[in-house]
Protein backbone atom coordinates (compact mmCIF):
# COMPACT_ATOMS: atom_id res chain seq x y z
CA UNK A 1 0.00 0.00 0.00
CA UNK A 2 1.50 3.33 -0.99
CA UNK A 3 -0.86 5.59 0.91
CA UNK A 4 -3.04 5.54 3.98
CA UNK A 5 -6.79 6.03 3.61
CA UNK A 6 -8.20 9.08 5.38
CA UNK A 7 -11.50 7.40 6.08
CA UNK A 8 -12.12 3.68 6.20
CA UNK A 9 -15.69 2.45 6.15
CA UNK A 10 -16.27 -1.21 6.84
CA UNK A 11 -19.43 -3.28 6.61
CA UNK A 12 -21.87 -0.50 7.34
CA UNK A 13 -25.35 -1.92 7.58
CA UNK A 14 -28.51 -0.02 8.28
CA UNK A 15 -31.72 -1.92 8.66
CA UNK A 16 -35.15 -0.57 9.42
CA UNK A 17 -36.92 -3.27 11.37
CA UNK A 18 -35.80 -5.92 13.79
CA UNK A 19 -34.65 -8.49 11.28
CA UNK A 20 -35.50 -12.14 11.67
CA UNK A 21 -33.60 -15.40 11.52
CA UNK A 22 -34.46 -15.79 7.88
CA UNK A 23 -33.19 -12.49 6.55
CA UNK A 24 -30.23 -12.23 8.87
CA UNK A 25 -28.89 -15.62 7.90
CA UNK A 26 -29.69 -15.30 4.20
CA UNK A 27 -27.06 -14.04 1.92
CA UNK A 28 -28.13 -10.85 0.30
CA UNK A 29 -29.15 -12.26 -3.06
CA UNK A 30 -32.01 -14.18 -1.56
CA UNK A 31 -33.89 -11.11 -0.42
CA UNK A 32 -36.38 -9.55 -2.78
CA UNK A 33 -34.69 -6.24 -3.48
CA UNK A 34 -33.63 -5.17 0.02
CA UNK A 35 -36.79 -6.22 1.77
CA UNK A 36 -37.45 -9.25 3.93
CA UNK A 37 -40.93 -10.53 3.22
CA UNK A 38 -41.18 -12.42 6.52
CA UNK A 39 -40.34 -9.75 9.09
CA UNK A 40 -40.71 -6.74 6.77
CA UNK A 41 -37.29 -5.41 7.56
CA UNK A 42 -35.84 -3.02 5.02
CA UNK A 43 -32.10 -3.18 4.54
CA UNK A 44 -31.17 0.34 3.46
CA UNK A 45 -27.42 -0.35 3.48
CA UNK A 46 -25.84 -3.78 3.49
CA UNK A 47 -22.19 -4.32 4.31
CA UNK A 48 -20.99 -1.20 2.59
CA UNK A 49 -17.19 -0.91 2.70
CA UNK A 50 -14.84 1.52 1.04
CA UNK A 51 -11.81 3.72 1.64
CA UNK A 52 -11.53 7.44 1.05
CA UNK A 53 -8.12 8.97 0.44
CA UNK A 54 -6.83 12.47 1.02
CA UNK A 55 -7.82 14.91 -1.71
CA UNK A 56 -9.85 12.47 -3.73
CA UNK A 57 -13.43 12.71 -4.90
CA UNK A 58 -15.28 9.44 -4.56
CA UNK A 59 -18.50 9.14 -6.52
CA UNK A 60 -21.49 7.06 -5.49
CA UNK A 61 -24.15 6.30 -8.10
CA UNK A 62 -27.24 4.19 -7.95
CA UNK A 63 -30.96 4.35 -8.51
CA UNK A 64 -33.39 6.02 -6.14
CA UNK A 65 -33.75 3.93 -3.03
CA UNK A 66 -30.43 2.17 -3.40
CA UNK A 67 -29.22 3.49 -0.06
CA UNK A 68 -26.92 6.29 -1.15
CA UNK A 69 -28.41 8.96 1.07
CA UNK A 70 -28.81 6.60 4.01
CA UNK A 71 -25.13 5.81 3.75
CA UNK A 72 -24.23 9.50 3.77
CA UNK A 73 -26.48 10.08 6.76
CA UNK A 74 -24.78 7.22 8.59
CA UNK A 75 -21.35 8.64 7.87
CA UNK A 76 -22.40 12.11 9.01
CA UNK A 77 -23.93 10.65 12.19
CA UNK A 78 -27.45 11.76 11.26
CA UNK A 79 -28.56 8.16 11.40
CA UNK A 80 -27.07 5.46 13.57
CA UNK A 81 -26.05 2.43 11.52
CA UNK A 82 -27.16 -1.00 12.74
CA UNK A 83 -23.60 -2.20 12.52
CA UNK A 84 -20.34 -1.21 10.93
CA UNK A 85 -17.03 0.47 11.50
CA UNK A 86 -15.64 3.82 10.46
CA UNK A 87 -11.99 4.72 11.05
CA UNK A 88 -10.70 8.24 10.60
CA UNK A 89 -6.98 8.82 10.18
CA UNK A 90 -6.60 11.65 12.67
CA UNK A 91 -4.41 12.04 15.75
CA UNK A 92 -6.26 10.77 18.79
CA UNK A 93 -8.88 8.92 16.76
CA UNK A 94 -6.80 6.20 15.18
CA UNK A 95 -8.13 2.68 15.61
CA UNK A 96 -11.31 4.07 17.11
CA UNK A 97 -14.63 3.16 15.58
CA UNK A 98 -16.29 6.53 15.12
CA UNK A 99 -19.74 4.97 15.37
CA UNK A 100 -18.97 3.93 18.95
CA UNK A 101 -17.84 7.34 20.17
CA UNK A 102 -19.97 9.32 22.58
CA UNK A 103 -22.63 11.61 21.17
CA UNK A 104 -20.54 14.58 22.20
CA UNK A 105 -17.44 13.35 20.41
CA UNK A 106 -19.48 12.59 17.31
CA UNK A 107 -20.87 16.11 17.37
CA UNK A 108 -17.38 17.55 17.59
CA UNK A 109 -16.14 15.50 14.64
CA UNK A 110 -19.22 16.40 12.68
CA UNK A 111 -18.73 20.10 13.30
CA UNK A 112 -14.98 20.28 13.00
CA UNK A 113 -13.94 17.55 10.60
CA UNK A 114 -16.94 16.89 8.38
CA UNK A 115 -19.08 19.04 6.14
CA UNK A 116 -22.35 17.97 4.59
CA UNK A 117 -24.41 19.35 1.75
CA UNK A 118 -27.86 17.81 1.64
CA UNK A 119 -29.92 17.20 -1.42
CA UNK A 120 -32.64 19.34 0.09
CA UNK A 121 -31.37 22.65 1.55
CA UNK A 122 -34.14 22.48 4.17
CA UNK A 123 -32.11 19.82 5.96
CA UNK A 124 -28.86 21.69 5.85
CA UNK A 125 -29.94 25.26 6.49
CA UNK A 126 -32.08 27.09 8.99
CA UNK A 127 -34.34 28.77 6.51
CA UNK A 128 -35.40 31.58 8.83
CA UNK A 129 -31.91 32.59 9.88
CA UNK A 130 -29.86 34.82 7.62
CA UNK A 131 -27.40 33.23 5.23
CA UNK A 132 -24.43 34.45 7.23
CA UNK A 133 -25.83 33.28 10.57
CA UNK A 134 -26.25 29.84 9.07
CA UNK A 135 -22.51 29.83 8.56
CA UNK A 136 -21.99 31.37 12.00
CA UNK A 137 -24.04 28.58 13.53
CA UNK A 138 -21.61 25.96 12.29
CA UNK A 139 -18.63 28.03 13.48
CA UNK A 140 -20.18 28.48 16.93
CA UNK A 141 -20.89 24.77 17.13
CA UNK A 142 -17.21 24.17 16.50
CA UNK A 143 -16.27 26.47 19.34
CA UNK A 144 -15.81 29.85 17.70
CA UNK A 145 -16.92 32.86 19.75
CA UNK A 146 -15.43 35.88 18.02
CA UNK A 147 -18.21 37.60 16.08
CA UNK A 148 -15.97 39.77 13.92
CA UNK A 149 -13.90 36.81 12.87
CA UNK A 150 -16.95 34.68 12.15
CA UNK A 151 -18.45 37.48 10.09
CA UNK A 152 -15.33 37.85 8.00
CA UNK A 153 -15.12 34.09 7.41
CA UNK A 154 -18.81 34.05 6.50
CA UNK A 155 -18.50 36.90 4.03
CA UNK A 156 -15.39 35.42 2.49
CA UNK A 157 -17.13 32.08 1.93
CA UNK A 158 -20.27 33.67 0.55
CA UNK A 159 -18.09 35.59 -1.90
CA UNK A 160 -16.41 32.34 -2.81
CA UNK A 161 -19.73 30.73 -3.69
CA UNK A 162 -20.83 33.90 -5.46
CA UNK A 163 -23.57 35.01 -3.12
CA UNK A 164 -23.51 38.84 -3.19
CA UNK A 165 -22.44 40.20 0.19
CA UNK A 166 -25.38 42.62 0.28
CA UNK A 167 -27.69 39.60 0.47
CA UNK A 168 -25.76 37.85 3.23
CA UNK A 169 -28.19 39.05 5.90
CA UNK A 170 -31.21 37.72 4.06
CA UNK A 171 -32.93 34.46 4.87
CA UNK A 172 -32.14 31.54 2.56
CA UNK A 173 -35.93 31.13 2.36
CA UNK A 174 -35.89 34.04 -0.06
CA UNK A 175 -33.08 32.59 -2.17
CA UNK A 176 -33.36 30.53 -5.31
CA UNK A 177 -32.64 26.79 -5.12
CA UNK A 178 -29.18 27.22 -6.60
CA UNK A 179 -28.32 29.97 -4.15
CA UNK A 180 -29.55 27.90 -1.21
CA UNK A 181 -27.36 25.06 -2.40
CA UNK A 182 -24.37 27.37 -2.53
CA UNK A 183 -25.06 28.74 0.95
CA UNK A 184 -25.05 25.12 2.12
CA UNK A 185 -21.69 24.58 0.47
CA UNK A 186 -20.32 27.73 2.11
CA UNK A 187 -21.63 26.51 5.46
CA UNK A 188 -20.11 23.07 4.98
CA UNK A 189 -16.76 24.64 4.16
CA UNK A 190 -16.70 27.06 7.08
CA UNK A 191 -14.49 24.96 9.36
CA UNK A 192 -12.10 23.86 6.62
CA UNK A 193 -13.21 20.26 7.03
CA UNK A 194 -10.92 17.61 5.55
CA UNK A 195 -13.97 15.62 4.46
CA UNK A 196 -17.08 16.80 2.64
CA UNK A 197 -20.22 14.77 1.97
CA UNK A 198 -22.18 16.03 -1.01
CA UNK A 199 -25.60 14.49 -1.56
CA UNK A 200 -27.15 15.18 -4.97
CA UNK A 201 -25.99 18.74 -4.91
CA UNK A 202 -26.69 19.53 -8.54
CA UNK A 203 -30.11 17.90 -8.73
CA UNK A 204 -32.69 20.46 -9.69
CA UNK A 205 -30.21 23.10 -10.71
CA UNK A 206 -30.16 24.48 -14.23
CA UNK A 207 -27.13 23.70 -16.37
CA UNK A 208 -25.45 27.03 -15.92
CA UNK A 209 -25.72 27.00 -12.13
CA UNK A 210 -24.70 23.33 -12.20
CA UNK A 211 -21.52 24.26 -14.08
CA UNK A 212 -20.82 26.90 -11.42
CA UNK A 213 -21.28 24.41 -8.61
CA UNK A 214 -19.10 21.78 -10.32
CA UNK A 215 -16.41 24.36 -10.91
CA UNK A 216 -16.61 25.42 -7.27
CA UNK A 217 -16.24 21.85 -6.05
CA UNK A 218 -13.29 21.15 -8.31
CA UNK A 219 -11.63 24.34 -7.08
CA UNK A 220 -12.17 23.40 -3.46
CA UNK A 221 -10.55 20.05 -4.16
CA UNK A 222 -7.58 21.58 -5.92
CA UNK A 223 -7.00 24.46 -3.51
CA UNK A 224 -7.68 22.85 -0.17
CA UNK A 225 -7.14 19.17 -0.94
CA UNK A 226 -10.47 18.30 0.64
CA UNK A 227 -11.66 14.69 0.29
CA UNK A 228 -15.22 14.37 -0.89
CA UNK A 229 -17.89 11.77 -1.30
CA UNK A 230 -20.25 12.83 -4.06
CA UNK A 231 -23.59 11.09 -4.34
CA UNK A 232 -25.43 11.61 -7.58
CA UNK A 233 -27.58 9.75 -10.01
CA UNK A 234 -26.30 12.00 -12.76
CA UNK A 235 -23.49 10.06 -14.41
CA UNK A 236 -22.24 13.16 -16.21
CA UNK A 237 -21.65 14.87 -12.86
CA UNK A 238 -19.85 11.83 -11.54
CA UNK A 239 -17.71 11.62 -14.66
CA UNK A 240 -16.64 15.23 -14.28
CA UNK A 241 -15.87 15.07 -10.59
CA UNK A 242 -15.00 11.62 -9.35
CA UNK A 243 -11.78 9.68 -9.80
CA UNK A 244 -13.28 6.53 -8.37
CA UNK A 245 -16.89 5.47 -8.21
CA UNK A 246 -19.03 3.03 -6.26
CA UNK A 247 -22.23 1.70 -7.77
CA UNK A 248 -24.99 0.85 -5.30
CA UNK A 249 -28.04 -1.31 -5.80
CA UNK A 250 -30.55 -2.34 -3.16
CA UNK A 251 -28.29 -1.16 -0.38
CA UNK A 252 -25.19 -2.95 -1.59
CA UNK A 253 -22.07 -1.85 -3.40
CA UNK A 254 -22.18 -3.96 -6.54
CA UNK A 255 -19.26 -2.47 -8.37
CA UNK A 256 -16.39 -0.12 -7.71
CA UNK A 257 -13.49 1.15 -9.72
CA UNK A 258 -12.11 3.97 -11.79
CA UNK A 259 -14.93 6.20 -12.96
CA UNK A 260 -14.09 5.92 -16.65
CA UNK A 261 -13.83 2.16 -16.32
CA UNK A 262 -17.27 1.97 -14.67
CA UNK A 263 -18.69 4.03 -17.52
CA UNK A 264 -16.91 2.34 -20.43
CA UNK A 265 -16.50 -1.21 -19.20
CA UNK A 266 -19.28 -1.81 -16.69
CA UNK A 267 -19.27 -5.33 -15.32
CA UNK A 268 -22.52 -5.76 -13.46
CA UNK A 269 -25.88 -6.12 -15.16
CA UNK A 270 -27.31 -3.12 -13.37
CA UNK A 271 -24.31 -0.91 -14.11
CA UNK A 272 -24.56 -1.82 -17.78
CA UNK A 273 -28.20 -0.81 -17.81
CA UNK A 274 -27.34 2.41 -16.06
CA UNK A 275 -24.70 3.23 -18.65
CA UNK A 276 -26.98 2.30 -21.56
CA UNK A 277 -29.50 4.74 -20.16
CA UNK A 278 -27.05 7.59 -20.43
CA UNK A 279 -28.36 10.17 -22.87
Amino acid sequence: MFEQPLLQVKNVTKKYGAGCQKCMSYCSTKLIKNYCSTCRTVYACRNVSFDLYTGEILGIVGESGSGKSTLMQCLYFDVEPSSGIMYFDHPGLKEKNLFHLSAQQKRLIRHKKFGMVYQNPIHGLKMHYSAISNIGEKLIAAGDRNVAKMESIGNMLLREVEIPVFRSKEKPLHFSGGMQQRVQIAKALSNNPPILFLDEITTGLDLSVQANVLDLIKNIQMEYGVSMIVVSHDLAVIRMLADRTLVMLDGEVIEEGLTDQILEDPQHLYTQQLVYSLI
Binding site: F2, D215, M222, G257, L258, E264, D265, Q267, Q272, Q273
Partner: protein, 237 residues
Protein backbone atom coordinates in the same frame (compact mmCIF):
# COMPACT_ATOMS: atom_id res chain seq x y z
CA UNK B 1 15.10 -2.64 -20.26
CA UNK B 2 11.51 -2.94 -21.35
CA UNK B 3 9.26 -0.26 -19.91
CA UNK B 4 6.05 -1.99 -20.97
CA UNK B 5 5.47 -5.68 -21.49
CA UNK B 6 2.06 -6.91 -22.54
CA UNK B 7 1.79 -10.64 -22.00
CA UNK B 8 -1.05 -12.86 -23.19
CA UNK B 9 -3.56 -10.06 -22.80
CA UNK B 10 -7.14 -11.06 -23.45
CA UNK B 11 -10.26 -9.03 -23.07
CA UNK B 12 -13.87 -9.89 -23.68
CA UNK B 13 -17.03 -8.04 -22.83
CA UNK B 14 -19.85 -9.78 -21.03
CA UNK B 15 -23.04 -8.20 -22.29
CA UNK B 16 -25.67 -9.22 -19.80
CA UNK B 17 -28.87 -8.33 -21.61
CA UNK B 18 -27.79 -10.31 -24.66
CA UNK B 19 -26.29 -13.01 -22.46
CA UNK B 20 -23.32 -12.93 -24.73
CA UNK B 21 -19.63 -12.64 -24.39
CA UNK B 22 -17.82 -10.62 -27.03
CA UNK B 23 -14.17 -11.40 -27.45
CA UNK B 24 -12.31 -8.20 -28.26
CA UNK B 25 -8.68 -9.25 -28.19
CA UNK B 26 -6.93 -12.48 -27.39
CA UNK B 27 -3.37 -13.36 -26.48
CA UNK B 28 -1.83 -10.01 -27.22
CA UNK B 29 1.87 -10.06 -26.72
CA UNK B 30 4.39 -7.28 -27.21
CA UNK B 31 6.93 -5.23 -25.34
CA UNK B 32 8.61 -1.92 -25.79
CA UNK B 33 11.70 -0.22 -24.49
CA UNK B 34 12.09 3.23 -23.08
CA UNK B 35 11.87 5.84 -25.81
CA UNK B 36 10.43 3.47 -28.37
CA UNK B 37 7.37 4.19 -30.43
CA UNK B 38 5.10 1.34 -31.38
CA UNK B 39 2.34 1.82 -33.89
CA UNK B 40 -0.67 -0.44 -34.08
CA UNK B 41 -2.66 -0.67 -37.31
CA UNK B 42 -5.65 -2.75 -38.24
CA UNK B 43 -9.23 -2.67 -39.35
CA UNK B 44 -12.00 -1.07 -37.34
CA UNK B 45 -13.14 -3.45 -34.67
CA UNK B 46 -9.94 -5.45 -34.63
CA UNK B 47 -9.29 -4.41 -31.06
CA UNK B 48 -6.67 -1.69 -31.38
CA UNK B 49 -8.35 0.64 -28.94
CA UNK B 50 -9.09 -2.22 -26.59
CA UNK B 51 -5.37 -2.74 -26.14
CA UNK B 52 -4.74 0.92 -25.36
CA UNK B 53 -7.73 1.18 -23.08
CA UNK B 54 -6.64 -1.96 -21.24
CA UNK B 55 -3.24 -0.43 -20.64
CA UNK B 56 -4.84 2.81 -19.44
CA UNK B 57 -7.28 0.68 -17.43
CA UNK B 58 -10.38 2.26 -18.90
CA UNK B 59 -11.09 -1.37 -19.63
CA UNK B 60 -10.55 -4.01 -17.01
CA UNK B 61 -8.14 -6.54 -18.53
CA UNK B 62 -9.45 -10.05 -18.25
CA UNK B 63 -6.43 -12.26 -18.61
CA UNK B 64 -2.75 -11.68 -18.97
CA UNK B 65 -0.30 -9.19 -17.62
CA UNK B 66 0.60 -5.62 -18.46
CA UNK B 67 3.94 -5.07 -16.78
CA UNK B 68 4.88 -1.42 -16.58
CA UNK B 69 8.15 -0.10 -15.20
CA UNK B 70 6.95 2.79 -13.07
CA UNK B 71 9.18 5.53 -11.68
CA UNK B 72 7.16 5.44 -8.48
CA UNK B 73 6.18 1.81 -7.99
CA UNK B 74 8.83 -0.13 -9.87
CA UNK B 75 7.56 -3.01 -11.93
CA UNK B 76 3.79 -3.02 -11.69
CA UNK B 77 1.14 -5.17 -13.36
CA UNK B 78 -1.35 -2.59 -14.60
CA UNK B 79 -3.96 -5.28 -15.00
CA UNK B 80 -3.96 -5.84 -11.26
CA UNK B 81 -2.90 -2.46 -9.89
CA UNK B 82 -5.31 -0.74 -7.50
CA UNK B 83 -7.50 2.08 -8.72
CA UNK B 84 -5.52 4.51 -6.58
CA UNK B 85 -2.24 3.43 -8.16
CA UNK B 86 -3.73 3.89 -11.61
CA UNK B 87 -4.98 7.35 -10.66
CA UNK B 88 -1.47 8.26 -9.52
CA UNK B 89 0.06 6.92 -12.72
CA UNK B 90 -2.44 8.77 -14.88
CA UNK B 91 -1.58 11.99 -13.13
CA UNK B 92 2.17 11.57 -13.15
CA UNK B 93 3.34 9.02 -15.67
CA UNK B 94 0.87 7.83 -18.27
CA UNK B 95 -0.93 10.09 -20.73
CA UNK B 96 -3.78 9.22 -23.03
CA UNK B 97 -5.01 11.09 -26.08
CA UNK B 98 -8.21 10.17 -27.88
CA UNK B 99 -10.28 11.87 -30.54
CA UNK B 100 -12.71 13.02 -27.92
CA UNK B 101 -12.38 15.83 -25.48
CA UNK B 102 -14.06 15.24 -22.16
CA UNK B 103 -13.58 18.15 -19.84
CA UNK B 104 -15.25 20.15 -17.13
CA UNK B 105 -17.74 22.68 -18.49
CA UNK B 106 -16.85 26.36 -18.50
CA UNK B 107 -13.14 25.95 -18.05
CA UNK B 108 -11.05 27.74 -20.64
CA UNK B 109 -8.48 25.98 -22.83
CA UNK B 110 -5.70 27.76 -21.05
CA UNK B 111 -6.98 26.69 -17.62
CA UNK B 112 -7.36 23.10 -18.74
CA UNK B 113 -3.72 22.89 -19.75
CA UNK B 114 -2.60 24.76 -16.63
CA UNK B 115 -4.67 22.53 -14.39
CA UNK B 116 -2.97 19.45 -15.79
CA UNK B 117 0.29 20.89 -14.46
CA UNK B 118 -1.10 22.28 -11.20
CA UNK B 119 -2.42 18.80 -10.45
CA UNK B 120 1.15 17.58 -10.19
CA UNK B 121 2.21 20.56 -8.08
CA UNK B 122 3.86 22.78 -10.66
CA UNK B 123 4.36 26.33 -9.43
CA UNK B 124 1.65 28.54 -10.90
CA UNK B 125 3.96 30.86 -12.88
CA UNK B 126 5.77 27.98 -14.53
CA UNK B 127 2.44 26.28 -15.28
CA UNK B 128 1.19 29.42 -17.00
CA UNK B 129 4.30 29.69 -19.18
CA UNK B 130 4.33 26.02 -20.07
CA UNK B 131 0.62 26.04 -20.90
CA UNK B 132 1.04 28.97 -23.29
CA UNK B 133 4.09 27.44 -24.85
CA UNK B 134 2.23 24.20 -25.50
CA UNK B 135 -0.89 25.86 -26.88
CA UNK B 136 1.27 28.00 -29.14
CA UNK B 137 3.17 24.98 -30.35
CA UNK B 138 -0.03 23.28 -31.42
CA UNK B 139 -1.16 26.43 -33.17
CA UNK B 140 -4.32 26.79 -31.21
CA UNK B 141 -5.52 30.26 -32.17
CA UNK B 142 -4.71 32.69 -29.36
CA UNK B 143 -8.27 33.94 -29.49
CA UNK B 144 -9.37 30.50 -28.31
CA UNK B 145 -7.11 30.31 -25.29
CA UNK B 146 -9.64 31.96 -23.05
CA UNK B 147 -12.65 30.38 -24.69
CA UNK B 148 -14.57 27.31 -23.57
CA UNK B 149 -13.78 24.26 -25.69
CA UNK B 150 -17.34 22.89 -25.94
CA UNK B 151 -17.89 24.80 -29.16
CA UNK B 152 -14.48 24.14 -30.73
CA UNK B 153 -14.13 22.33 -34.03
CA UNK B 154 -12.98 18.71 -34.06
CA UNK B 155 -9.41 19.64 -34.93
CA UNK B 156 -9.24 22.34 -32.29
CA UNK B 157 -10.52 19.97 -29.64
CA UNK B 158 -7.98 17.41 -30.65
CA UNK B 159 -5.09 19.85 -30.50
CA UNK B 160 -6.24 20.92 -27.06
CA UNK B 161 -6.47 17.28 -26.06
CA UNK B 162 -2.90 16.63 -27.16
CA UNK B 163 -1.75 19.78 -25.38
CA UNK B 164 -3.31 18.59 -22.12
CA UNK B 165 -1.80 15.12 -22.40
CA UNK B 166 1.69 16.14 -23.48
CA UNK B 167 2.27 19.24 -21.35
CA UNK B 168 3.32 17.05 -18.43
CA UNK B 169 5.74 15.09 -20.59
CA UNK B 170 4.49 11.68 -19.54
CA UNK B 171 6.76 8.64 -19.39
CA UNK B 172 4.30 6.60 -21.41
CA UNK B 173 1.92 8.19 -23.86
CA UNK B 174 -0.98 6.33 -25.42
CA UNK B 175 -2.32 7.81 -28.62
CA UNK B 176 -5.73 6.62 -29.79
CA UNK B 177 -5.98 7.93 -33.34
CA UNK B 178 -4.85 11.42 -32.44
CA UNK B 179 -4.67 12.56 -36.04
CA UNK B 180 -8.08 11.31 -37.14
CA UNK B 181 -9.64 14.68 -37.93
CA UNK B 182 -6.60 16.82 -38.58
CA UNK B 183 -5.44 18.49 -41.77
CA UNK B 184 -1.97 17.95 -43.16
CA UNK B 185 -0.42 20.94 -41.39
CA UNK B 186 -1.81 19.97 -38.01
CA UNK B 187 -0.69 16.40 -38.54
CA UNK B 188 2.79 17.68 -39.14
CA UNK B 189 2.56 19.53 -35.83
CA UNK B 190 1.54 16.35 -34.06
CA UNK B 191 4.42 14.59 -35.72
CA UNK B 192 6.84 17.23 -34.50
CA UNK B 193 5.65 16.97 -30.92
CA UNK B 194 5.84 13.18 -31.06
CA UNK B 195 9.40 13.38 -32.32
CA UNK B 196 10.24 15.86 -29.59
CA UNK B 197 8.70 13.69 -26.91
CA UNK B 198 10.57 10.72 -28.26
CA UNK B 199 13.84 12.56 -28.07
CA UNK B 200 13.04 13.36 -24.45
CA UNK B 201 12.62 9.68 -23.73
CA UNK B 202 8.85 9.33 -23.74
CA UNK B 203 7.66 5.89 -24.72
CA UNK B 204 4.70 5.86 -27.05
CA UNK B 205 2.04 3.45 -28.19
CA UNK B 206 -0.12 4.80 -30.97
CA UNK B 207 -3.04 3.77 -33.14
CA UNK B 208 -3.20 5.43 -36.51
CA UNK B 209 -5.22 4.99 -39.64
CA UNK B 210 -2.71 6.92 -41.64
CA UNK B 211 0.12 4.60 -42.59
CA UNK B 212 2.12 7.36 -44.24
CA UNK B 213 2.09 9.28 -40.99
CA UNK B 214 3.67 6.41 -39.13
CA UNK B 215 6.38 5.94 -41.70
CA UNK B 216 9.74 6.82 -40.24
CA UNK B 217 8.19 7.71 -36.91
CA UNK B 218 7.48 4.32 -35.41
CA UNK B 219 10.20 1.92 -34.38
CA UNK B 220 7.83 -0.98 -34.84
CA UNK B 221 4.47 -1.39 -36.45
CA UNK B 222 2.09 -4.11 -35.36
CA UNK B 223 -0.81 -5.17 -37.44
CA UNK B 224 -3.93 -6.54 -35.88
CA UNK B 225 -5.50 -9.40 -37.71
CA UNK B 226 -8.99 -10.20 -36.69
CA UNK B 227 -9.66 -13.85 -37.28
CA UNK B 228 -13.06 -14.42 -35.88
CA UNK B 229 -12.26 -14.25 -32.23
CA UNK B 230 -8.54 -14.61 -32.48
CA UNK B 231 -6.47 -11.53 -32.80
CA UNK B 232 -2.80 -11.70 -33.42
CA UNK B 233 -0.26 -8.99 -33.33
CA UNK B 234 2.46 -9.35 -35.82
CA UNK B 235 5.58 -7.41 -36.41
CA UNK B 236 5.63 -5.63 -39.74
CA UNK B 237 9.09 -4.17 -39.56
Amino acid sequence: MAILQVKQLSKSFQIHHLQKKMQAVKNIHFSLHKGEFIGIVGKSGSGKSTILKSIYRTYLPEEGEILYESARFGCLDLAKATARQIIYLRKHEIGYVSQFLNVMPRITSRQLVENALLEVDYPIELAKDRAEETLRHFDLDEALWDAYPNTFSGGEKLRLNISIATVKKPRLLLLDEPTASLDAISKEKVRQIIEKLKRQGTTLVGIFHDLAFMEGLCDKVFEMEAQQTNTFVKDRV
